[in-house]
Symmetry: C2
Subunit: 304 residues, 2 copies
Amino acid sequence: MEGKETSKMDFKAELKKYQNQIEQDLEKYIRKQDCPEKILNDSMEYSLMAGGKRLRPTLVLATYQLFKDNYEICMPYAVAIEMVHNFSLIHDDLPGIDNDDLRHGKLTNHKKFNEATAILAGDGLLNYAYLVISKDLLNTINPKELEKKVKVFHEFSLATDRMIAGEYVDTEYEGKEVLANYLEYVHQNKTGALLKLCVRMGAILADANAEDLNKLTNYAEKIGLAFQIKDDILSVEGNEIITGKPVGNDEAKGKCTYVSKYGMEKTKTILEEITKEAIENIESFGKKAEFLKELAKYIKDRNK
Amino acid sequence: MEGKETSKMDFKAELKKYQNQIEQDLEKYIRKQDCPEKILNDSMEYSLMAGGKRLRPTLVLATYQLFKDNYEICMPYAVAIEMVHNFSLIHDDLPGIDNDDLRHGKLTNHKKFNEATAILAGDGLLNYAYLVISKDLLNTINPKELEKKVKVFHEFSLATDRMIAGEYVDTEYEGKEVLANYLEYVHQNKTGALLKLCVRMGAILADANAEDLNKLTNYAEKIGLAFQIKDDILSVEGNEIITGKPVGNDEAKGKCTYVSKYGMEKTKTILEEITKEAIENIESFGKKAEFLKELAKYIKDRNK
């Protein structure tokens, strides 16, 4: 019991360490100089630095650290994935899509700036992610390292493609019965693809072998699903002061969710099951995987 | 006189050949399969295949052919640049930005589909461009070739970054006096950066030396400016049946243009000057550069 408590304390401290590192590295990419498009840069910064959980870059770094200590090589990809994540949030919140006013308890980008700025800030962040990757490739001299990073770049573009497709299906079929058939598809693509990418990027950059990559991919698929299921639960019974999103939002929009499809009780059972399966997939890594196991529990138990 | 006529005929035939090749290659990337996001794919196809002039990919191929015959190596980049161009058109036309109903005389993406679809189709095309590039890098075994293509990828991401910044400044300062100061900045970024990229991609992929790359960069900067100036002229005195855009559109929106800043007569003189300068920059390539010279004149003399 005491051991578990300690481990939980360590997890929070460890998570905070990752988050701080990521905040620091993101800051380096913020463009502060005076230029005609300064407000566009400000709006990109506004969303990027709005204080999300940094779950995606943390996954990259923590997976890498299963194999190697110094995660410096991962940083451009950790930063790039956070840019893509924030691009997707900005565009999802737009009046033409979800029309949301609040995100992380703050005004959404188009509410804080305006619609044109938010559209272009999203575009800018998506493209900036690739600018960061291209610069890293350009600075990579070692051919073996370059080959590895090109593989990561390709997976990055594929996962982002899937994320956009998932967002489309989620949006287009909102409030329509057909969406129930597509529920898994939406989750796998909209949320799952990017989370899976994060874990795979960390593993590939650390030269993981095929077997380990496979285990970690399975782990990532499970936590991706768990993440979405938990989101569905929070949308019904979360505390809106903590989540920063209005409770009942999904229901009001006629969104098909795990809760609307399976009911709350069964959804919670599924969440427990999936989390257990995620952890089982990385059992073989032993003590080193403690953080990733705790992360799976954190996704399940979080209140925002 | 006869020689010039023949050269003009050849130019049109040559241009048509490039355009046909590009249409064919774009077709290969269209996703036709049945899937939950089929309509999103359809909307991406709708804009991508709406029959633009294919000026950007043509520039890539024609520049490459100053040096080498078989332009196969360029095709992924020619396709990718056309995807980025079309992403920018879809987003520029959105209600939140220019709110245009027609493009190439056809309904704009959000009018044909809906706003959410158009936002995501633009996102999808921007990302697809990078997916195409990443796949090409992944399939490049030769380290020297890979190094060259990584350089192209980096310039690609930088130019697209500039395009988005230019679009932001153009949009944000529409109808405001300050835009007159930013007129060159908007043109250099919004239109110029991508056209320059096309020429540079063709030259870099063909292993052009620094001196040639420099001449071609200068040529590209001039035609980029000429392109925008001609657009400004067409917006005042074009035939809207031919241009597919309402005449007086820029003026009605209070857009600062070359014509509003310098008057029509001086604008036309500037256009002639710039075109002459563009051609002078590639004189040293002799007969091989005939097509690119004619292309500069075509940009100046086009009626759409």
